[in-house]
């Protein structure tokens, strides 16, 4: 399937019905892909198809439909395994999303953590990669340490090296920062953590839509994914974990699906991946996610990365010329995301007026309050690109800014 479709942006846009709608009387310019991406028709068709033709619970029934649902469900697991190059499909656990994946590890791994153990996160983290670790450290009497960064939004690897000690049990950070777009050197940082015997958990919420992720090459121990940020359904995601780790961790939630045998005296748990999948899962979400993966792979992740790098370059240049512009996040390795402020203006005002012009951006702290404090801003305006955005849309954003800035000054 690799590289069978040429990167024809008009053809791609046609597959997203929502992109042709109007907002406030203007053609929609959707630049909030960091929050969630829109969905290709192939994915929504797969949801309808599931309900119209199959709709049965998985891993349970002897009947035909249940078997079909189970097969389709497991096909996604295999496709996702291949997509991230995991060794085994049983290393791919379906969860509600990145937040749920991180909480699963924070709880289960936490059961192995002792007082005075240390966990390291970074300044760039989303609240969902901060709070679960704070809760775990509080519960276990462990200590949380934070890797600092420079003004460009690049993590300070020397400082990181000094934080790593034999007390470090786990290091958690994102592959790509949702607020600044920084692409972190995951492979290098993982190697450094492994040298002191610490496990590594990566928040991959923002990297999956933009990069080819190879968990074996990166050698990470855990990797968290949200389907809805990579052109898939909401409410579904995955946790990749090395088999060795997943076998070592106690299950996070109890219930149906995750057991081998149950008596009132003792329950034994199912093997991977089911040990971590209690209850009826988000079946249509899992099944339809396969359509998104096929669709992405038909375009080719490398082609996507390449195209988006063009958008980054074009947008950085165009936005830099806007009056009073400060772009936050200027890491040399960066995804196509523009986080910025206009001198003297509140991000919220700018976002509100851009919305009147049909331009969807996000304003605020982007669930990264400690990072905003580090940058000394109350928030930013964030335009985050998806593979269907165009240079013309970036021009529309710039024209929109040039219209609203004088109104607000």
């Amino acid at each position: 399937m690799e590289n069978t479709i040429s990167f024809d942006i008009n053809d791609i846009r046609k597959q997203f019905p929502v992109l042709s709608r109007e907002v406030n009387g203007k053609p929609l310019v959707y630049m909030d892909n960091g929050a969630t991406t829109h969905k290709p028709k192939a994915m929504t068709d797969a949801i309808t198809d599931y309900y119209e033709r199959i709709n049965s619970n998985v891993h349970r029934g002897v009947h035909h439909l249940s078997q079909q649902a189970t097969d389709a469900f497991e096909v996604t697991r295999e496709k996702l395994r291949a997509h991230i190059n995991a060794e085994h499909a049983r290393e791919v656990i379906f969860t509600k999303g990145t937040t749920d994946s991180i909480n699963t590890v924070a709880w289960s791994f936490g059961e192995l953590v002792k007082p005075r153990d240390e966990v390291i996160i970074s300044t760039l983290e989303h609240h969902s990669n901060i709070v679960p670790w704070q809760m775990m450290c509080e519960r276990k009497g462990a200590t949380l340490k934070v890797i600092p960064m420079d003004d460009r939004g690049v993590l300070d690897l020397e400082a990181y090296q000094t934080l790593l000690t034999e007390k470090t049990v786990l290091v958690a950070f994102n592959h790509i920062s949702n607020a600044l777009g920084t692409i972190n050197p995951v492979k290098k940082m993982t190697k450094m953590a492994h040298e002191v015997g610490a496990a590594v958990m990566i928040d991959g919420a923002q990297s999956m839509p933009h990069l080819k992720v190879d968990v074996r090459d990166l050698d990470v121990d855990f990797y968290a994914i949200s389907a809805h940020k990579m052109y898939g359904p909401t409410g579904i995601g995955a946790l990749y974990g090395k088999e060795e780790w997943l076998n070592k961790l106690p299950p996070y939630q109890g219930g149906g699906e995750m057991i081998a045998t149950v008596t009132f005296e003792k329950t034994t748990y199912a093997d991977l991946p089911h040990k971590f999948e209690a209850g009826t899962p988000h079946i249509e979400g899992v099944i339809a996610w396969a359509a998104s993966l096929d669709w992405l792979n038909a375009i080719g992740m490398e082609n996507i990365t390449h195209y988006e790098a063009e958008l980054l370059e074009y947008g950085t240049k165009a936005l830099s010329e806007v009056d009073g512009m400060t772009i936050h996040g200027t890491a040399p390795q960066k995804s196509a995301l523009f986080s910025f402020n206009i001198e003297g203006l509140h991000p919220y005002d700018v976002g509100t007026l851009l919305d009147q012009l049909g331009i969807a951006v996000r304003t605020g702290h982007h669930c990264t309050q400690p990072l905003m404090n580090r940058l000394n801003v109350p928030g930013t305006i964030r335009a985050s690109m998806g593979l269907y955005n165009t240079k013309e849309e970036i021009d529309t954003l710039v024209a929109g800014l040039n219209r609203v800035i004088p109104m607000l000054k």
């Binding site: 509140h346 919220y348 005002d349 976002g351 509100t352 304003t363 605020g364 109350p378 109104m407 607000l408």
Partner: protein, 140 residues
Amino acid sequence: MSESIQERTTDIVDEFDMFEDWMDKYDHIISLGKELPLIDEQHKVDDNLIKGCQSRVWLHADYDGQNVTFTADSDAIITKGIIALMVRVLSGQSPEAIVNADLSFVDEIGLKDHLSPTRANGLVSMIKQMKFYALAYQSK
């Protein structure tokens, strides 16, 4: 500033009717924000912050035994414009009038539909807080 709340809100609805495009309405809101009398710096304290707004909003009330005077500020100019509307309607009125005020003009001018949910919530919090002050003075 002795007109009733009813008269003041009718004026505002007429004013907004003059603009067709929402960008123009926002332009008007922004200029109201710029004209909002400054709040005394001593009242810009955390105790006077209204919860539930994405931007920061400070609201202060004074009561001379007859009427309530509101002063307010925000770090976001559109928010400030919306506050200016509320202050224009409610400031200088009696506690009874404020408590019983019909503020449906906010819907009539279409403002609520054009606010993001967080901003709409902020507006609701602001109105609640203004009525809350009035209620406290009423029972004095």
